[in-house]
Symmetry: D2
Subunit: 283 residues, 4 copies
């Protein structure tokens, strides 16, 4: 028998709340109804919060704007930590010259752009510039011709010993109630199998996502892991990653994990959240 | 130090020769020069032969025609055993009604067609006919829109507990000296990961390919496995599969396995051919 | 809602019945109660039957004796097809000299023994004989010191490019109602990961198991695949393998697949049996 | 052609040096000859250093003592960051009651012990205490009966939805020039496959190892990632992990990666170190 906790009572025990985005704050139809109450409550209680999301399709500024357009003004760019930001940090630290080839939309490429590097869609890679390519990044599942550009990517990786960065570890994402779309992480995993290489993946459940957010806070004030709770709808990313990093975790049943499946999947996976709540909405 | 055998002397010891197609009889440029001598020799010696190929893009009749157009008339349709034929046999035996959805060209679909079944490209699957789909087949990497149709395929598999058949186990195939193309088997493996299902794969190294050819012969005359030698250029498909089925095997160095790499790869994989020859050409 | 068929009515439609052993004919407590009726019925109806089992721990003669001791006399050695027999056939056809090192009991080694080959437990492999080892076989999970001998096996495989044969593809087998034991196939899979090699695996769902049994029958009389039905308790081995080979299949709920889980697992895996029956017992 | 850098000139460019232990500071015979010079140089230059090691078999204090016994006094316990310390941190933060079952030696268990928790070897788990087990930890490949205790572990995980922690991600470790031993990470991977669960793994290349060391330094003084270089002998752990975290990296050829293989393996894996040096010895 599933033991549901009251979301408000649970977060009252923590100073900082980390939220997953999809399935927690929003779904395929838009914002989760009532979620703005949660952010009013957090502000009233002076609790800090962050959105920790496997999303490299847009910059934090653009992601924040999409919340604003939907009517949620509390989510500002400085509160968003995305797997795309980690990909950008990697390029900044480790790739100092040459061309960064990418699969994704121009939007996704724009924010990984940098003064020292030149980004170029895989469709523009040819004999004249292939030798200058110093990294390949999977950013988004849209913005390119899968047939042509995935074949080009395979041959690029075979010819050049460059790092391949996957800025989103998800295999698929929901687009309607019953349908999903293949995500950049799913495409990357096919290419990985074909070329027999190990790519560099950024995104939950990897610790680096949580560390990035944790560090942002610690730059301003002292904090310990016990002060933070991670809220997510997916056992294998949000809860496993949060647990492994040492955070307490809340599984919400408004997204990937359905109320009727939660106990079965927790028992089957051994991934046990600290709490289970209906949703992240403070009534 | 690599110990090369003379191809003619080796096949002299066997009654029947099985050939892989790509990298043995032909390559990205066309027929392997001199390969017609081999078939003249086989006929002069009254030796039987078969082409055993991971190819579901065309029917045996069409495959044979492509050899004829290149000037090799010895390869007739009844000598070709393809993974596509196994997919067709599966559909004939196991799928008795409904629509067989496919990913591939109309050509590839044509020969799996059957009086009782109706084939339909994945692009034509929609709300009106999805409930009648009784199987999905990966036939070829061409003939469809990867972005649209692979996403449709993912959702079809999620919604319907149908068998998914992969008629080609190869992950990629060579298109020029240094470039490859992603094959139907590589695409299928991505979809398999995303939907978390086990597909039904036909093709070398699976025993069913060798058994199909072996049975064709036994229908006409008694034979034992020791009478047959399998010739191939790829350790993981031709040689592993031939060995496992109990055939002797010849690795030729005219395709996937380069002369300089053969020993390293044999030692690294533990897949040991009975013989190694430069090529399948009888001088 | 699960649609159960009557076992007797289903097998009435076929000339030959293939049975899995564990979970169908016997379980951890001994014979499935009433299963002797089934074999009386088969004999009365003049239907042929075979036991097709992933078991390399004993010879068919010894396996048959264990049925006799339990009171089931219909199961004779010539009706048993085991993954161990395929391992033996492989060694007979492909390994012509040297030492066959094995992991398993002396019993399991005894029946793969052969006049030309010498079997030796891995524990007896040392500097003096390692260069004569021409194959390694995983036969059973018992009969050796896991710590010492698995480490010896890893180093043997690293040093010598020999074929490694796994004579049982199962990862675990039930020993009491709620407990399992790690099987030879599970151990082999660990060693495979550590040494980065592809082993040669014999056992369901691989087609070679079904072909071996199918060939035994065809040596005596003509038969087609539609005359045969495969009865098993496990979707991923018995049903997937039977389906792929082109047989009709019966899932019984007396073993691995529980009545409450059957539909969920069929939908989740896409492995659909032709029929579902409570058990293989003819009332 | 491989471009070797001089180790001293390279580390002169960094404030802090992270070292892998095995293959860099020591090998199966003991300390790498001359490695004490390196630590004298580091101290003379006032450079900070840390040992970052996948080792959960002993506490940092015991690991440091083993260096002292070999004559290297510079390596003190506070300079060692081990995967075992991360396992301990996880237990401290996330497991608040019950029994922590472990596979390993009493020594390995001793240092994960804690006032609130009770550690018990898997061999002591039985019907009387299984319901109190709140976590299982793989610490070492020694100290237990593989056959009995691994089977007990499989059944413990099947019965209880507890987190399973793997305190060492390595699959094997060298014991002589040509021989390896299966490591705790290799055993854990077999169990993971058999039970179909995702375990919590601590060790390189996972970022959490690097973050733990990075945090130790930042507690005392400001630092950025560009100030640190990671020295290791293994592309898939030290170099991949260091690169991904954003550190510069030095591959040394005194361990896992042989001088003749380095370029081939870098090209095959796409894991490119910032520098390659013969060894970590300052001449």
């Amino acid at each position: 028998m599933i033991q549901l906790s009251d979301f408000r009572s649970v977060i009252d025990q923590y100073k900082i709340v980390f939220f997953d985005a999809f399935g927690v704050l929003k779904n395929y139809k838009g914002l989760v109804p009532g979620i703005e109450n949660t952010f009013e409550y957090l502000e009233a209680q002076n609790k800090e919060f962050y959105i920790v999301t496997n999303d490299a399709s847009r910059s934090p500024v653009q992601l924040a704007e999409s919340y604003h357009r939907a009517g949620l003004y509390a989510v500002t760019a400085d509160r968003i930590v995305s797997s795309g930001m980690l990909a950008k940090e990697y390029l900044d630290l480790k790739v100092h010259e040459g061309i960064v080839a990418y699969l994704g939309t121009p939007n996704s490429a724009h924010y990984i752009d940098d003064s020292d590097l030149h980004t170029l869609p895989v469709s523009s890679i040819d004999e004249s510039n292939i030798d200058k390519v110093s990294a390949l990044v999977f950013l988004d599942d849209e913005g390119f011709d899968w047939f042509k550009d995935l074949n080009t990517a395979v041959n690029l990786i075979r010819k050049r010993p460059i790092p391949v960065i996957v800025a989103n570890t998800d295999f698929s994402y929901p687009v309607t109630k019953n349908e999903v779309s293949i995500a950049a992480g799913g495409i990357a995993s096919m290419i990985e199998t074909i070329v027999g290489r190990k790519f560099i993946r950024f995104g939950k459940p990897d610790s680096q996502m949580f560390m990035f957010a944790y560090d942002l806070i610690r730059e301003r004030r002292p904090i310990v892991k016990k002060d933070i709770v991670m809220v997510g709808d997916t056992l294998h990313t949000d809860i496993l990653g949060g647990n492994k990093f040492g955070f307490d975790t809340i599984l919400v049943l408004s997204g990937n994990t359905l109320p009727g499946d939660a106990i079965t999947r927790i028992n089957a996976t051994g991934i046990v959240p600290t709490y289970i709540c209906d949703s992240a909405v403070v009534e």
